[in-house]
């Protein structure tokens, strides 16, 4: 019975969601015309769709999307790996954390995207500056979450392992590392969406590849539909990255109790 009501709730939610999508698409198509907004400001859905087909054929949309996706993937993976490693190291060494915390804080406050022009000066119009911005931007949420998780492990749990004569490595692999998984995945979720931001800023600043480049190209030509196409594709790349994290998280954290409505978002 309880399951029935929950299933009904989910069904109602899904129907409302689809209804909202249809309403939004309809508003996009006919809203600008009705409100008298010129199509070079807000192009209707149909002209964006037409531009999508054109971009696919003429402007190498699949290539640009692929480059951006690859940069996002590389930046996200390296950034989370580095963030997790530094998080564990600092979590296990209070001295290191105390010594490094002012610098980490400063770097965390500095807007990472502002580094993009600098990285382009250093590395030229290649994919590397974009990946580097993404690494920098993904690093912090993952590191902070892992660090906090390692800090917050119940000391009684550590004592329990110690009483069984666990080595430092055993305490890490059997207690600290698995304990840090739920907060780490929270950090990875944030990181997966931020990685797109880092990559796009890098592409906006320089280069001739990627959706960020396509976006500035469209802007230069006053091709508003192309700008919209780029934004939609970027959202798609970010959404897929987020979805992949969620799927891995569900596998890894399968032991956690279900968290009720909307738990997958």
């Amino acid at each position: 019975m309880v399951n029935d009501t929950r299933a009904a709730l989910v069904r109602r939610g899904a129907i409302a969601s689809i209804f909202l999508l249809v309403a939004f698409l309809a508003a996009w198509q006919w809203g600008p015309g009705l409100l008298g907004i010129p199509s070079f400001i807000v192009p209707p859905l149909s002209s964006v769709a037409a531009e999508f087909v054109r971009a696919w054929q003429v402007y190498h949309l699949p290539l640009h999307t692929g480059v951006t996706a690859a940069e996002v993937l590389a930046g996200f993976m390296l950034g989370s790996l580095l963030g997790a490693m530094v998080g564990y190291l600092l979590g296990m060494s209070p001295t290191a954390e105390l010594a490094l915390s002012p610098y980490i804080l400063a770097l965390q406050i500095a807007p990472k995207v502002a580094f993009a022009p600098l990285f382009i000066l250093w590395m030229g119009f290649t994919v590397y500056p974009k990946i580097l911005v993404a690494i920098l931007i993904v690093f912090f949420p993952v590191m902070v979450n892992v660090l906090t998780a390692v800090r917050n492990v119940d000391p009684d749990l550590i004592n329990l392992a110690r009483a069984f004569k666990a080595s430092r490595a055993q305490i890490f692999w059997r207690i600290e590392f698995p304990s840090s998984m739920p907060p780490m995945f929270a950090g990875l979720r944030i990181g997966s969406t931020l990685a797109v931001v880092g990559v796009v800023v890098g592409e906006l600043v320089g280069g001739n590849l990627g959706l960020g480049y396509l976006l500035t190209f469209g802007e230069g030509q006053a091709n508003t539909p192309l700008v919209f196409v780029s934004i939609v594709m970027l959202t798609l790349v970010g959404g897929i990255a987020y979805l992949i994290v969620i799927l891995i998280e569900r596998r890894v954290l399968h032991y956690l109790p279900a968290r009720g409505v909307g738990r997958n978002i």
């Binding site: 119940d154 329990l160 110690r162 004569k165 059997r174 032991y255 956690l256 109790p257």
Partner: protein, 269 residues
């Protein structure tokens, strides 16, 4: 008398004060011993250093003065002869029930097959066999505490140190768990030191009860529980002497006259 399994010899423990200035003496000059297969309870007001004694016995913290001995050997660090269990079940949420039971033996490096065999035997004994593949969050509080006890017993320790193991479960579950513990201790001939706030628990489960004073904690009384059936606490509750022992312990702790004091001042009954 049989051999001494656990002994505290003139143990004193001081902690640095919270403001770092003076030292705070948690326990002072505590000496007592627990013999083979004996169950001894330790009662006393909050903050009298009971848990400190447990940490010293398990080798997690060295005492400021004096020593603890297990099987005649001075405790210098964690050792395989002692296992402890706390009020918190400390089950690992990412491990199944069976994997939680084998946590200790795995760390001690027993072959996986032997680990699994022990877990299966203990879980069957505690009537938890059908839950061995479940995760802790799927279990009730009483079941989780039973899994924690199975994990403690899996390492086959000579001495069990139990720190208020059942104070977080409801009264009826607690009686069932007390019975299980009493039977297990008797069958396996285990030696145990039980820290508890529950006077009835102390009387029904133990051979002897030690009463501690307020901080700095010292042992102010020792009461031998002269009742049969240490493996059946529910029968002991019906024993005519039961109420006398509880009343005596209440007098010794001066419960009728203790006013509730600020947290950290002790005597939070």
């Amino acid at each position: 008398m049989s051999v001494v399994r656990l002994e505290y010899r003139n143990v004193t423990m001081r902690f640095a004060d919270s403001n770092g200035a003076g030292a705070l003496t948690a326990v002072r000059g505590v000496s007592f011993s627990v013999h083979d297969a004996e169950v001894v309870s330790l009662i006393g007001p909050t903050g009298c250093g009971k848990s400190t004694l447990l940490n010293i016995g398990s080798g997690l913290t060295p005492p400021s003065e004096g020593s603890a001995f297990v099987d005649g050997e001075r405790v210098a660090g964690p050792n395989a002869q002692v296992a402890f269990m706390l009020q918190k079940d400390l089950l690992l949420p990412w491990r199944t029930v069976a994997e939680n039971v084998t946590f200790g033996v795995e760390i001690q490096g027993l072959p996986l097959k032997e680990c699994k065999r022990r877990a299966a035997a203990l879980l069957a004994n505690f009537k938890l066999a059908e839950f061995s593949g479940h995760y802790p969050h799927q279990l009730s509080g009483g079941m989780r505490q039973r899994v924690a006890l199975a994990r403690t017993l899996a390492v086959d320790p000579h001495v069990l140190l139990l720190d208020e193991p059942f104070s977080a479960v409801d009264a009826q579950t607690r009686m069932v768990l007390q019975r299980d513990l009493a039977q297990t201790l008797k069958q396996a001939n285990k030696t145990a030191l039980l820290i508890t706030h529950d006077l009835a628990e102390a009387v029904t489960l133990s051979d002897r009860v030690l009463v501690m004073s307020r901080r700095p904690g010292t042992i102010i009384d020792e009461i031998k529980i002269d009742m049969p059936q240490r493996d059946n606490p529910i029968a002991r509750r019906r024993d005519a002497k039961f109420n006398d022992y509880v009343a005596h312990l209440m007098d010794r702790l001066d419960i009728a006259h203790v006013a509730l004091e600020r947290e950290g001042e002790g005597a939070a009954w």
